[in-house]
Symmetry: C2
């Protein structure tokens, strides 16, 4: 069985966290100088454990084992959200590196191929899952040309500045791989709340996202009588209240829904908002529930529009499909978890999106979660106990060996 080196694992995790260090977390947006520096560092790391390595035109960092394979592709994304945590993505990337290293040190595993990978822009600074989607051949040039960052920079310009525009984008040759394994922090509190240390992922939820545009009548906040107002901001409040009151009835036990953004225009203290724009999303891993929630939302938008006299336009801007993880990979992860942490594991769906749901369309995929302290993520205070970080890596290594040995 491969033995991972916990001290080395933590050392490399801490080192990766120095690129774009921010408070106790990191600020490493996709293709930023800090991000590119960390990717070049990963190339060196991959090579230092006997792999060939390169960065492709999407910014993905690939380590390739000299073994014929079939190889286990293991990784996650290495960029971060803005001012976010040191483990989100980074942990799965360093797991891949450590597991490749541990396999090379193990008599029994030396002939098994581990290909570690660091995807780019899972965090959607430009395009959600840019790197993994590019790898599975699901990213067209048109989308690349149209993409801009939240700060308005065009993707093409960012790729140029990062020195990636001349490099080819690697696409998958499925026959090379036995499958894909990704480990990630849970980013929630279910494991911590139930005293578990490992989550074996059964499925990844789909995110359905909407832009709701509400048009009222912009007017003077002092001279326009309450009776005749068509306040787009208050209409948005009405809609949000209806969602708050009615979604629990339509939701599944694990459904979540969020209004992440609400903009009132013009946004001046003495002007009645003439327009409000709401970004709203919900998530579930069952198609029936997703459809029911969308139908509910449609009805509430109609109702709020009638109540307020404001016109409301609802556009669906994203609608993914839930992905169910490979059964045999779940079994291997369960067996490894049972061995290293009896009673300390649980099967659970993932409420967050991960590159595994992109890879899982093309090759078998499995995922493992470790606890997030306080359930915090997408914030620089995000953290996980070192013991859990080490346990998770050992269990993922063990599962990889079980899968490769069974072939």
């Amino acid at each position: 069985m491969p033995r991972i080196n916990g001290e080395r694992l933590i050392q490399r995790l801490r080192k990766l966290a120095t690129f774009g260090a921010y408070e106790t977390g990191v600020h490493r947006p996709t293709y930023s100088p800090q991000d590119m520096e960390s990717r070049r560092w990963l190339v060196d790391q991959y090579e230092s454990v006997g792999l060939s390595a390169h960065i492709d035109g999407a910014g993905n960092v690939f380590g390739r084992s000299p073994r014929p394979g079939p190889a286990m592709l293991i990784g996650s994304h290495s960029e971060s959200q803005n001012h976010a945590g040191w483990l989100d993505g980074a942990m799965g990337v360093i797991y891949g590196l450590e597991i490749a290293h541990a396999f090379s040190e193990s008599e029994a595993c030396r002939n098994m191929a581990i290909d570690p990978v660091a995807w780019s822009d899972e965090e959607a600074h430009f395009v959600p899952f840019l790197g993994s989607r590019s790898f599975v051949g699901d990213l067209g040039q048109a989308e690349i040309d149209a993409a801009r960052s939240r700060t308005g920079q065009s993707l093409s310009e960012a790729l140029r500045e990062a020195g990636l525009d001349k490099l080819p984008r690697e696409t998958i040759r499925p026959e090379r791989y036995a499958g894909y394994l990704e480990a990630h922090i849970e980013q929630g509190d279910s494991l911590e709340a139930t005293g578990k240390r490992l989550g074996i992922v059964t499925s990844i939820v789909a995110i359905w996202q909407y832009r709701i545009t509400i048009d009222g009548v912009q007017n003077h906040a002092g001279t326009t009588r309450m009776a005749i107002r068509k306040d787009a901001g208050m209409a948005a409040v009405r809609l949000a209240s209806l969602i708050d009151a009615n979604f629990p009835k339509a939701a599944g036990t694990r459904s979540v829904w969020t209004m992440g953004r609400l903009d009132l225009e013009p946004g001046a203290p003495s002007i009645i908002p003439g327009r409000a724009t709401m970004l709203f999303q919900f998530r579930d891993d069952e198609d029936a529930t997703l459809l029911r929630l969308e139908e509910t939302l449609h009805g509430l938008v109609r109702e709020a529009s009638q109540m307020t006299g404001c016109e409301m336009k609802m556009e669906r801007i994203a609608a993914g499909q839930p992905l169910h993880m490979e059964a045999s990979f779940q079994e291997a992860l369960l067996a490894a978890a049972r061995e290293h942490c009896p009673d300390g594991y649980v099967r659970m769906p993932s409420g967050a999106s991960h590159d595994a749901q992109i890879l899982g369309r093309t090759i078998p995929a499995g995922m493992l979660f470790v606890p997030s302290i306080g359930g915090i993520s997408h914030h620089w205070t995000e953290d996980t106990d070192e013991a859990d970080l080490i346990l998770g890596c050992q269990v993922l290594a063990d599962a990889a060996e079980r899968i490769l040995a069974s072939r």
Copy 2:
């Protein structure tokens, strides 16, 4: 009696609207090149009707009659809100010019002093009522040094760029003036709705304004169960709903309240907002009502905070006093209205703030409203019938003569 020249009045109004023309309105922010150009044009206009004229260090444009006085100060502000109407402020400014012109052409009025004025930044691009407050001695250097525009430009820099930083700021010598008259579009629909053409202002409401900061817990929108969320955005929705439900009970018949701005942070689709910031204001012309509304707001903030578990901080960022217009000026305006438009006028409070409430602290002040078509203002579609524009100017001129003649 002074006879104003309607054609000339409209011509000059149209001319002023060419500075920063936008659609059928204007975009003429305080101290912008278009604003300064229009102020220099006003200097020429004042001189062309036999007045001395200059721009002071606050950007106010003063026309001064050679007559000993006491003079009637007549005007309004000449900058505009962003992409706003052609009459808001501008109408009162051109009325002052036309009335000065008409008096100079009238045998009976030739010896009466009319001092037209164009105030700066009533619209608060930098500081609300900057010009009129500077003139009454209510603007300290500290406030000037601290002020920034909505776009982040410092006031000092803007004054430098406008070439005003070296000029002295004029302050009022009350003995010069019989008082201040200001005409303005109503910016509401009361006149139009009741078929009236003139509003004699009885009082100007006070605006009490608040910043309410709501702190929840920023977290991942997919992995954080609904049960444990502290969503600052939804807490803001809860508070806004409580205000919507409870303010009507506490309000006076003419009270208005508005949430003009609501910002959710970080404002990303997949992140539960950790902070929400709300700008909220209410207006009334009775102290007792203002106090009752503030007390109600305090209670609702407490209630919403308890309901949501989010901490809410409520700061009062502005609290003016209602101003009651000079009784004798109201009488003069009523008499003039009766003569020129029997049954076409009404006494009413002003729901909007105006420079008259600043001047009214120091010298007697009166105000006249003309209708806004559709009650629209602070928008480029704002407009008023030409016949009403001309009638309003004649009535204001007539009232000015009655007041000056009575001394």
